[in-house]
Structure formats: C-alpha cells, structure tokens
C-alpha cells in the first residue's frame, strides 16, 4: 500500500520535473536573449525587452497560468493541454526573472572589459561571447540557481488547471488515504530533494567558473573602479 502510494507520487514528481526542466531550459535561453536585449544599443529592442520583464514581473504567476490556459483558447481558438499551458506560463515567468538576472550580470562586468576588447579591435560577437558573457555568467549563476528553485515551487500552481503534478497528486492521495499529513509530508520531502539537487549543481557550476585564487575576487573588485578623467 505504502509503496504504491509512493510510486504514484514519484510519477507525479516526474511530471513536475519535466515541467521544470523544460520551462527552466526554455526560460534560461529566452531570459538570456532578454538580458542581452535590455543592454542593447538598439533603443527599440531595449524598450520591448524591458517592458516585457517589467510587466511579467508585476503579475501573479497564478494569474498568468489562468491567462494562458483559459485566455489563449479564447484568443486563438486552440485548446492547450494543461501540461503545455503550464510549460508556456512557467517559461514566460522564468524568462522575465532570468532576463533581469542576465541584464544585471552583464552590467556588473566592469566597463573596462568592454573598452579593452574594443581597443583591441575585437568585434561585437567575440566581445560579447568571449569576453563579457563568461564573466557575466559567473556573476549570474547564484541568482539563476535561486530562481530555478523558485520555479520548482511555482510549478505546484499548475495543479490548479487540472494537471496532476506533485502537489495535486499529494492532494488526491490525501483524499484517498485520509492521511493529509503523510501525503503532504512525502510531497514536501520530494520537493526538497529536487531543490537541494539544483542548489548543489549551482554550487558546483559556481566553483567551476570561479577565478583561480581567493584573493582574486578582491582584486577584481578594485579593477572595477572606472578610470579617472
């Protein structure tokens, strides 16, 4: 009996994971583009991306889920499966937050780095992807990790539109067994294990990207002071 219940929850956890991984990957990619757009020289691009980030961040996630699930069928006369609606909604939100994280990280790279590359005649793409981004990524990783953990927890809201992810599965289980404490506790443990794994991966990535010695972060901080005159 217990094993069966646990298997049911684990299957639902699998769906939660599928939702989070797909929305996490799509959100990171779109977020990256939004971040680059927000610091672009092209005014219109800056305007659009900034507006997107500002609007999406100002709306509750639950409302966005409703909007996608109930609103898109009205607008385009297509029905979205709950999973797809959940994926779209979470991606839209994740992209906004990650866009903001990437923007902040790009702007945190000292201006002198752009100038040094510019002075050497390095072109825009090489400058962006080989000089600025490796440094921005290092700055962004802790916030990105934090946001991915948030995403896992936000995914519990997808249960409301009828998709059986982990939280909804736990609710169903508690109705069956009349043991809410046990069902929700098991779900909580699984959520924690997912989040904990993400944060460990985040720390590992951070270590890998970290500059060589500890003293370096302090030295880097001093090089960030803009040149006088």
């Amino acid at each position: 009996m217990f094993i069966e219940q646990l298997l049911g929850l684990l299957r639902a956890a699998g769906w939660t994971l599928a939702l989070c991984v797909s929305a996490g990957v799509a959100g990171t990619i779109i977020g990256f583009l939004l971040g680059v757009g927000q610091v672009s020289k092209i005014v219109v691009l800056r305007w659009i991306t900034t507006a997107y980030v500002t609007v999406i961040r100002g709306v509750p996630v639950l409302l966005l889920i409703f909007f996608v699930y109930f609103g898109i069928p009205v607008l385009f006369a297509v029905d979205l499966a709950p999973f797809l609606a959940g994926f779209v909604a979470l991606t839209v939100v994740a992209a906004a937050y990650m866009g903001e994280t990437f923007r902040g990280a790009i702007q945190a790279v000292p201006r002198g780095q752009f100038e040094a590359a510019e002075a050497l005649g390095v072109r825009y793409l090489d400058r962006t992807f080989r000089v600025i981004m490796p440094q921005a990524l290092r700055i962004a990783v802790p916030s990105l990790t934090g946001y991915l953990i948030n995403l896992v927890k936000d995914s519990s809201l997808i249960g409301i539109i009828g998709f059986v992810e982990l939280t909804r599965a736990a609710k169903i289980l508690s109705n069956l067994t009349l043991d809410p404490l046990g069902a929700f506790l098991m779900a909580a443990v699984i959520y924690f294990m997912i989040s904990f794994t993400i944060s460990r991966i985040g720390v590992a990535v951070e270590r890998k990207l970290a500059p060589k010695s500890k003293a370096s972060s302090r030295k880097l901080a001093t090089t960030a002071i803009p040149a006088g005159n």
Binding site: A119, G121, V131, S213, S217, G228
Partner: protein, 240 residues
C-alpha cells in the same frame, strides 16, 4: 602618424576638450601632463574612438577615424592601448590574454598566436607567467601583460592612459622600464602620465594640458627647465 585638428569633445553641456591641435610623428614619444580633469585621458580615448568626438578630425596613419566605422576599426587594429586599471580579461591566462586579439582579429592560428604571446611575455620579462591568471599576478605584472597584449596586435601606435597610477610606488619602475625600452625601439607612443621623471627622461616632446586645452608643447628640457606659460609654471611648481 597622428594628426589632431580642432578637436572638441562635449559630455552633455560640459566641454571637456576645447579645440585641440596636436601632431605626433612616427617613432616619437609624447607625454601628456596636466592636472586632473584637464581632459588628457579624454584626448587619449578619442584617438582610438573609445570616446566619440564632438567635432574636429583625428587621423591615425593617414586614416580619418571619424569618416566611417570601417576606418575606426582599421585604426583600432593599428593602435594599442594600456589602461590605468589594466583591464586584463580575468577568465583567461596571461598567455590567452595576449593571444586573444591576434586570433580573433588578425586571424592567426592558435599555435601562431600562442607563439607570439610567448615571445611578447618574454619581452616584458614574464615568460614564466604564461599560465597564470591575472588574479595571481601583482599589479606591475598585470600591467606588463597588458602591454604585451596591446603589442600582440603589432600596433603602429601605443596609447598609455596613466599606466602606473594604480600601482604601488615600488613596482612603478618595472612598468616604466618596459615602456622606456619600447620608446627606445622606436614605437610611436602617447603617454598620459603623472610620472614627471618618466616624462622628462623618455619623451621627445611634452604636452601640458589644462581645462581642455593644450597650453604648451615643448621638449622636456624646455618644459621642465623654463616653461613659457604661467599656468605651466604653477602646475609644475606644485608637482615637482
């Protein structure tokens, strides 16, 4: 090699450069001195287009940098710059820092670029440090790597923006020695500096700037021995 005519530069309402005329001949070393806020760094940064000019013309090696983006890109390839804050790329080793632009801009193969990097690191006395990251080097070593990085593009002109101002006094010498050697080898150099000793010894001509204008251009002997302008005198009295 460098010709600057009627150069004006405004930041918003503030006019930082108010009509600069200056020529620098090939193989000449010119030091630019003057009080903080006199516009010397801005002048230097205009020469390779890090600052867009408001009006006037700058030509480097016969190429007018303001005429097109293409021209500016050409001039940047031929112009090396060394910054006060070094601005080495922290995620690359010293060798990668030096090899980066030759590979990406000049299209050298990785082997060729590394070979060039090794030679240049040796030239600035850091052949042992090729695999070190900037964070593992002292300020003086970082600045010498930065000089090697600029030289790796085989520039015709080198611009130095207060290259020793961020260094501890006891390691200023190693950077100045590297620059002195470069000047003796006939590199065309424009050096914005507060090191009056260096300006006096190494430069062919010294430019004194104040309030966005060139006040006086003279040989080091004249500039430090018998300056003609009152403003030059009072500045030199304070710093010497």
């Amino acid at each position: 090699m460098i010709t600057i005519e009627k150069l004006h530069k405004q930041f918003g309402e503030v006019e930082v450069l108010r009509g600069i005329d200056l020529t620098v001949a090939a193989h000449e070393t010119v030091c630019v001195i003057g009080p903080s806020g006199s516009g010397k760094s801005t002048l230097l940064r205009c020469i390779n287009g890090l600052e867009a000019i408001t009006s006037g013309t700058i030509t480097v090696g016969g190429i007018d940098i303001g005429a097109s983006k293409n021209n500016l890109a050409e001039v940047r390839k031929e112009t090396g710059m060394v910054f006060q804050q070094f601005n080495l790329f922290p995620h690359m080793t010293a060798r990668e820092n030096v090899a980066f632009a030759p590979m990406r801009v000049r299209g050298l193969s990785k082997a060729e670029a590394q070979d060039r990097a090794n030679r240049l690191l040796e030239r600035v006395g850091l052949s042992e440090k090729g695999d070190s990251f900037p964070s593992q080097l002292s300020g003086g070593q970082q600045q010498r790597v930065a000089i090697a990085r600029a030289l790796a593009m085989e520039p015709k002109v080198m611009l130095f923006d207060e290259p020793t101002s961020a260094l501890d006094p006891e390691i200023v010498g190693e950077v100045l020695d590297t620059m002195r050697t470069l000047a003796e080898e006939g590199m065309t150099m424009v050096v914005v500096t507060h090191e009056m000793g260096f300006a006096r010894e190494v430069s062919d001509r010294v430019v004194f700037m104040d309030q966005g204008q060139v006040v006086e251009i003279a040989t080091p002997q004249e500039m430090f021995g018998s300056p003609k302008q009152e403003r030059t005198k009072s500045f030199l009295d304070k710093v010497l």
